[in-house]
């Protein structure tokens, strides 16, 4: 299936520069999150004072959050499939659904952070707190930016700004969104399910 928006571009690689740049960014973001995950695993057991991960983590709650983010990836790819078929209305519905699922994930993270804070964990309490909040906080920031991008696309499409020929805009937002999802797949397993 050809991407209508990229079909008319003439570049030396034959690839749209925006898409190439997005993949460059995602590649560099792998290193960004890899560093924080390594730092977390390195320092989580070296806290001199509590609370510790096993005192705080609520696996059922985080599992639901992980499921919500996974399902947002499904709705995102359905939005792209819709616009590539020329179904603008379908794209709008799925884009909005994705943004709402992302917002729900963020709400869950805010709740989790608040609970942890009430239990005595802050950014400066111990090494676990520092590395945990930095890692999951940056991920949450990525999700928040993603939600803003999706809502911008949604509003833009309501004003008639996105047609089938503009599907690359949705595809780029989708690449970013799916990346945020795969980062959470790794975080969920390594940080929450594999405990000391």
């Amino acid at each position: 299936m050809a991407h209508a928006s990229t079909a008319h571009l003439e570049t030396s690689t034959g690839i749209d520069n925006r898409k190439l740049l997005m993949w460059f960014f995602l590649s560099s973001d792998c290193l960004f999150f890899g560093s924080f995950i390594a730092a977390y695993l390195l320092y989580r057991d070296r806290s001199l004072v509590g609370p510790y991960p096993e005192d705080l983590f609520d696996i059922p709650f985080t599992s639901v959050s992980a499921f919500v983010l996974l399902m947002s990836s499904v709705s995102m790819v359905l939005a792209l499939a819709a616009i590539q078929r020329g179904n603008v209305r379908g794209m709008q519905i799925w884009l909005f659904t994705t943004a709402m699922l992302g917002a729900l994930f963020i709400a869950g993270q805010v709740y989790e952070f608040t609970e942890f804070h009430h239990e005595g964990l802050s950014l400066s309490t111990n090494l676990f707190g520092t590395t945990f909040f930095v890692l999951t906080g940056f991920h949450g920031a990525h999700v928040t930016i993603g939600v803003l991008i999706l809502l911008s696309l949604f509003v833009y499409s309501l004003r008639g700004g996105i047609q089938q020929k503009d599907s690359l805009n949705v595809e780029l937002a989708g690449l970013y969104w799916h990346f945020v999802d795969i980062v959470w797949i790794v975080i969920f397993t390594l940080i929450y399910l594999v405990q000391p």
């Binding site: 299936m1 050809a2 991407h3 990229t6 079909a7 008319h8 571009l9 003439e10 570049t11 030396s12 690689t13 034959g14 690839i15 898409k19 190439l20 993949w23 460059f24 995602l26 590649s27 560099s28 973001d29 792998c30 290193l31 999150f33 890899g34 560093s35 995950i37 390594a38 730092a39 695993l41 390195l42 057991d45 696996i59 059922p60 599992s63 992980a66 499921f67 996974l70 399902m71 990836s73 499904v74 995102m76 790819v77 359905l78 499939a81 819709a82 590539q84 989708g174 690449l175 799916h178 990346f179 999802d181 795969i182 797949i185 790794v186 969920f188 397993t189 390594l190 399910l193 594999v194």
Partner: protein, 116 residues
């Protein structure tokens, strides 16, 4: 001379034709995307179930690693279309991913951390 003219003079296909050729393999249908989503949900449920089952730590870690990699691969290959897209994107992403894994390994090995 434009790039299009240059390619034409060399007998190479226009970018549009090349791009369509690169995408000749059909993307999954909406139904297939939903099926993949259900598989992802099922794997997540299995991961959480394993967490509560009393099994040896080595078995748990191996199973979690396999399931996590499976979810990661499904999203990257199908939802991010690396399976169908230009191979350059795959190489670019692998560059970052392998870099992250290398960084991860070096940091943890040199620190002699008992991470799992």
């Amino acid at each position: 001379m434009t790039l299009a003219d240059y390619r034409k003079s060399r007998g190479e296909p226009a970018i549009q034709e090349a791009h369509e050729a690169a995408h000749s393999e059909k993307h999954p249908s909406a139904r297939e995307y939903i099926a993949i989503g259900l598989v992802l949900g099922a794997i997540t449920a299995a991961e959480v179930a394993l967490y509560y089952i009393d099994i040896s730590r080595n078995v748990l870690l191996t199973a979690l690693a396999i399931m996590s990699i499976a979810k990661f691969t499904l999203v990257v290959m199908w939802f991010m279309h690396l399976k169908f897209d230009n191979k350059l994107f795959t190489y670019l992403f692998l560059l970052g991913l392998l870099g992250a894994i290398a960084l991860f390994t070096i940091v943890l090995v040199t620190s002699a951390a008992d991470v799992v």
